[in-house]
Symmetry: C2
Subunit: 338 residues, 2 copies
Amino acid sequence: MVVLGSTVTMAEATVAKTDPLIDAAKKAGIAPIPAEKAALIKLIDNPKNPITDAKVELGKKLYFDPRLSKSNLISCNTCHNLATGGVDGVSTAIGHHWTANPHHLNSPTVYNAVFMSRQFWDGRSPDLEDQAQGPMQAAPEMAITKEMAVERISSMPAYVKAFKDVYGEDKITLKKIADTIGAFERTLVTPSPFDKFLQGDTNALTDGQKEGLKLFIDKGCANCHTGVGIGGGMQPFPVAKPYKYADIGDFKGDKNGMVKTPTLRNITETAPYFHNGAVWSLAKAIKIMGETQLGTELSDKEVASIKTFLTSLTGEKPKIEYPQLPAVTEKTPKPVTK
Amino acid sequence: MVVLGSTVTMAEATVAKTDPLIDAAKKAGIAPIPAEKAALIKLIDNPKNPITDAKVELGKKLYFDPRLSKSNLISCNTCHNLATGGVDGVSTAIGHHWTANPHHLNSPTVYNAVFMSRQFWDGRSPDLEDQAQGPMQAAPEMAITKEMAVERISSMPAYVKAFKDVYGEDKITLKKIADTIGAFERTLVTPSPFDKFLQGDTNALTDGQKEGLKLFIDKGCANCHTGVGIGGGMQPFPVAKPYKYADIGDFKGDKNGMVKTPTLRNITETAPYFHNGAVWSLAKAIKIMGETQLGTELSDKEVASIKTFLTSLTGEKPKIEYPQLPAVTEKTPKPVTK
């Protein structure tokens, strides 16, 4: 089993105390990112794609490698930028040849995406390994073909060696590329003050944050924003009132109209909000959620209180050394920027 | 004076030995990146913008910050990617709204750019601090206005504090933004086996690399590719024969037809080559340089030998922790992707 020490900063294990608010949060299904390394690894690992240090390191390189795009200009990190909350800071994702996402969809954060039950806004992908194959090949994103991706990576001897070290064989496939990226993404978890609180450190939240948490539970926010991901399940959207904010595009969720609940972890860093990135103000986003999902008119004071709680979800990011990537060779397929 | 330890990895100081080839290289004006820290800092520092740890750290953040572009999507690192030799791996730089550089110019590497006597292909900028102001504001690059850049950065309290820590005052200007970026870029130097050789470690080069170096000097390559930068001065282009490779565009160099000689450091990592990125093969690039600049028909064997020497210029990159950037606030001017 792997030691994640270099990638994931673990919170110190704390001695559990009892607090009715902790009990209420747990009863609402909210759970912390485990502070204990073995428990965390068990939670984030994929038995079909076990995490190893070598795989995570290779996945990190590929995550940052723009040669996985048709143009040589776009990497996973372009839209899921680890420097800016794991997102791109634009309403609608922009990809190859400056093409906007045709459904006006906003790039969700990659931080803590491992805790989502499904991937993509319509939940069409079961896990990060499967998800990673999508944007690489999508015409409005990285726009590369499976063949070109494999040929590009296979043309660089240092990558061939790294794949051999991880998989015991030379042959590189798009699935292996995506699997290593997925393994890296699984390590992108961000323990926060709220996790310490759930683990019994009752001083980890301010009184204001505790009040906000109570309201968050009482108003029903935790009906959807729950679990370790504080989000990540599939829910009907909208429920109580129409969502009427800006370009909704033609996105209708999955075949049952279900939409993935985004994580609230690091929500202070991931504006703009909602599947179409229509709202830049976190306070406004909270208010809209009350209306459209809970059928509740939250007062400005209640909104402010919930927002104060949400600041406790801003977590510590793993320290990542910016990679040095293998140089292209004369065999490497050339970029196509048209 | 600053300690650069965290950013720049110093080569070990070596005891100088005499070797006629070292003497010949020095006589040709080629000089090593100093192994001794104080000498290096003296060489890379700008008295008008002294390097400090805090300034370099702030400059690193800004270098990676895509909010310095109109769209929120392009940072300095997009075209001068520190993971891929300090370049973007495309022939013609692509910027805002997927606009190609109108003169078909290729992005030069930022690694060792501090050793260039002038910046930009036409040498119109005297130093890195001045240069950094250009691409931010250029319509086909980051396309931001001076006002929006300042307003964006000033809207994020952590940046305001960082500028106050560096400059002793709150007021942020585009010049200060560019100065900090320039300070960071000054630290991006890459000591190589060739530097160790010049410093007297005669075993740092293979026999093949030494033969190539001799040829490099004898054929006249070092007439232009000289100094610590092994390039970086202004030279007529072409000299002996027309340069006739692919889209030359309307680039004519400076008002006297002079073009900046690119560095050969890390040349194995910075394809495609020349001001218009028309040539992907390093061997072909060497052959063309012989023809257009030296009026010499280099044999395939000579080309291969010079190429072998050039591999000794691939240097050790500074270790860079990928930054965590301040989150936008509701005051931050929104991205414009149109």
